[in-house]
């Protein structure tokens, strides 16, 4: 049996070919598989990490970027704890589509979802979107921002670990008072805060 204190769902979205699958593979398997081909529907990976001595299970949903899979991928937004919106820093159109993606997120995801903007492929030297442009966009839309390279393993670990830490923080701060009030008396000692079964409804 796998034991973990927290379970978080992380969903990656963004145009086709920006490197969502590569980011996930790099993080979960330490690989950079070239010539992957487009993802079909949704892919699903699990990695358990340790944050402040606690086991955190990350359920990572890697969605297809292509339009025709939209009705599949959209159905995963709602239960996501974190949404990673990825674009390719060497491809302007993938950046131009970000507002459309945000609209989708607005429509389908929970309003409290943690949102992260990621500019991928910083190993490439044909950059089209300067870092500060991505930063500005993220700041304007209240998102975290990070530039990564799945190929060189730059910032990939950091990206997911940051998410795990933030979500854990969130879960703890939101959950504690709630449990305190609902079981105000004697039982409060026995109700554990983040046991695996209740994480789904934390956020």
């Amino acid at each position: 049996m796998d034991d973990y204190k927290f379970l978080f769902k992380v969903v990656l979205v963004g145009n086709a070919g920006v490197g969502k699958t590569c980011l996930v593979r790099r993080f979960t398997q330490g690989l950079f598989p070239p010539g992957q081909g487009a993802t079909i529907g949704v892919d699903f990976m699990i990695k358990t990490v340790e944050v402040e001595g606690e086991k955190v299970k990350l359920q990572i949903w890697d969605t297809a970027g292509q339009e025709r899979f939209r009705s599949i991928t959209q159905s995963y937004y709602r239960s996501a704890h974190a949404l990673i919106l990825v674009y390719d820093i060497s491809c302007q159109p993938t950046f131009d589509c970000l507002p459309d993606w945000l609209r989708e997120i607005e429509e389908y995801a929970s309003s409290k979802v943690l949102r992260i903007l990621v500019g991928n492929k910083i190993d490439r030297d044909d950059r089209e979107i300067p870092t500060h442009v991505g930063e500005d966009f993220a700041a304007r839309h209240n998102m975290y921002f990070l530039e990564t390279s799945a190929k060189e393993a730059d910032n990939v670990e950091k990206l997911f670990m940051q998410i795990a830490e933030d979500l854990m923080e969130q879960a703890r701060s939101k959950d504690l008072p709630r449990y305190d009030t609902s079981t105000a008396n004697i039982d409060s000692r026995t109700s554990t805060i983040g046991d695996s079964s209740c994480c789904g409804k934390l956020i």
Binding site: V42, I72, G200
Partner: protein
Amino acid sequence: MEEKEMSKFVTQQAYIDGKIRALSKMIPQLKIIHKDAESLVTTINHISESSEKISGKIRELDTAREKVEECQKRVSDLIDLELCSQGVQKAIYDEDYEQGAALVHRFLSIDQSVVKQTASDFEKVAGVLKSVRTLQDAASQLREIVKHKFGDAVKTQDLHSIERFFKIFPLIGMHEEGITDFCQYLCTKLEDAAQKNLQTALNTPAGDKRYPVIYADTLTLLYEGVARMVNVHQPLIETYYGPGKLIAAVNILQKECDNQTRRIMSEFCKTRNINKKMTQINEISRMSSSSSFSKLEKIDPKDLDVLIGEMTLMHSKIELYIKFVKSKITTDLDVGISDLDERSKNIDKLEQLIKNSQVSQSKHELLGYYLRMEQYYMEESITKAVNLDTAEQGQHTSSMVDDTFFIIRKCIRRSISSGSLDGICAIINNACRVLESDFCNILRSKLKQGYPSGYLDLTQAYNVLQSSIQQGRLQPGDTEVARTAFVVALNNADSCTYYVDALCDRVMLEIEQAMPTMKENDRGKLESCLSGLSSVTATLKDVIEYGLQQLRASAIKPRVHPWIDSFMSINHEMTEDELSAYDAGETFVQTLIMNLESLLAPFKEVLTPSNYDSLVGVVTNEVITRFEKIVFKTTFNRLGGLVLDKEVRSLAGYLTTSTSWSLRDKFARLTQIATVLNLEKVSEISDYWGDHDGALMWRLTPSELRNVMALRIDFKIEDIRRLKL
């Protein structure tokens, strides 16, 4: 001493002499042995030399024999060459192409470089070169003829000749052309049949029984056609072209299959108005999410029912076809290609072939349409079910619960029949969203209306009566209607929790039956989505809790408080006489229990057992907290404490038996307070407090305990203060 030694030597002399004599006799013999040994060495040397010579000869002989054999083969090749070249022309002339091809095949199997070398080695055999040239000419001639003849045969639909030349191709080294030409021929047949089938489909009258699924039928015919072709021709290809060649054949057939799939899909979209429906659905959902404009013409979900069914059928047919192709080719590759690298390369090719095919594209498109429509169907049908909600008298729940779960189950089942795991997961996710937000919100908003307490002031009551009389009928009051609505909503939420659990279990079972060979990763996906669905119960429990709090605020609190508060009007500093008078009359707790009974009884009828239990829990909490507060506002003497202790016990007894779960724990504090107030003297507390066997598990803090003790007018404050707790 010396003499002794000397005499010893003298006595040994005779013995030593004897020995010397014997040795000198042996010398000539040793000389002979030495000579013999030398001659032995030379002999051995000789033997080894000659044996080496012999083995060398044998080696030479071996090479010689190999050369002879090679020579023989060359000679036989040359003879065959000669024969072939003589026969081939005749065969071609006689149109005996099998014979000709067999001869060319023999020629091709001869190592041509060696033949040429042989020819140059023996200039005299100039005929060899000639033969080679003849055969080469014949081969190319034959190739052209066969290709041409095959083309003619295709044109004239001469099945016999088609098969005949199909078998000849590989003999004259035209494997690729053979497969290509033959499969292209098969493609034309495929096209003809598909066109005919599509035409029949288009001509099917709307009243026909198959009309609603005519496109699924047409796709089925197409894929069955391709599958039949593969099944029929695979043995031929394997026999004449060798195993491992099926992928090349299917690669060509797939192109036509793609074309036909595209045609059918486009006719399907046209006839069934897919694009219009999709736009309409998208617009409706955009409207309803942004505002309450319902001017838009809505599609009746019922009208989509049949179409959705057809789409899942189409999708499952495509899925089935892809599975067929995959397994056929994989088996052929496993048999035909032993090199693992080569095989995995071919398997990659197969994956690409399928991934890039129109069939896959169509499958994804279809799934996209299906999911969007199914989602709409689910949402709209549930809205309908909610709007048409009726509560039968005597039923705990109303029709919308059964209806909603019927719809969800139907949608999930339909997704299972599509054969797409991603589709199933998406529908489960959607169902989860509809239940958790839309459905729970409806329940919540019904509970938000609250439970009318029934305390009408006079004017209100008068107005209700008047309006009822004016309408000519005396209806059950509005209050009654509102109460029923509230209770039903609360029960609905409760029964939904059971429905959700049952749904999850059954869905998992059904999927396992439908997809027995699920991959580990797919299973993980599915389980995650299902766990999302089952967590809807948590939201439902929140809704129930919300309802109970509503009930508490309007129906319980305002009534329970005055009942408890009447405790204060009773003097708890009693004399013996007062106590017996009190016991003889109607005591506080008797009245309270009677009142609680009258409060709870009507609910017992109308609430689900689990909701009723929760209600009793809420009532109990309310009674206990209020009671505790009131106790602190009262003063007691010994007898008053005795009365309280008795009353708390019978109250706890009553409420505990009212539910199926134990509430005794909730009473712990109150019971302990009563125990303290019932003490004979202050010091008696040590029987209960401390670190010994008789001690209680205290729910009161030491300071609380002191405060309770202070309520006893006969306990001295100093005694209490002096207690060591």
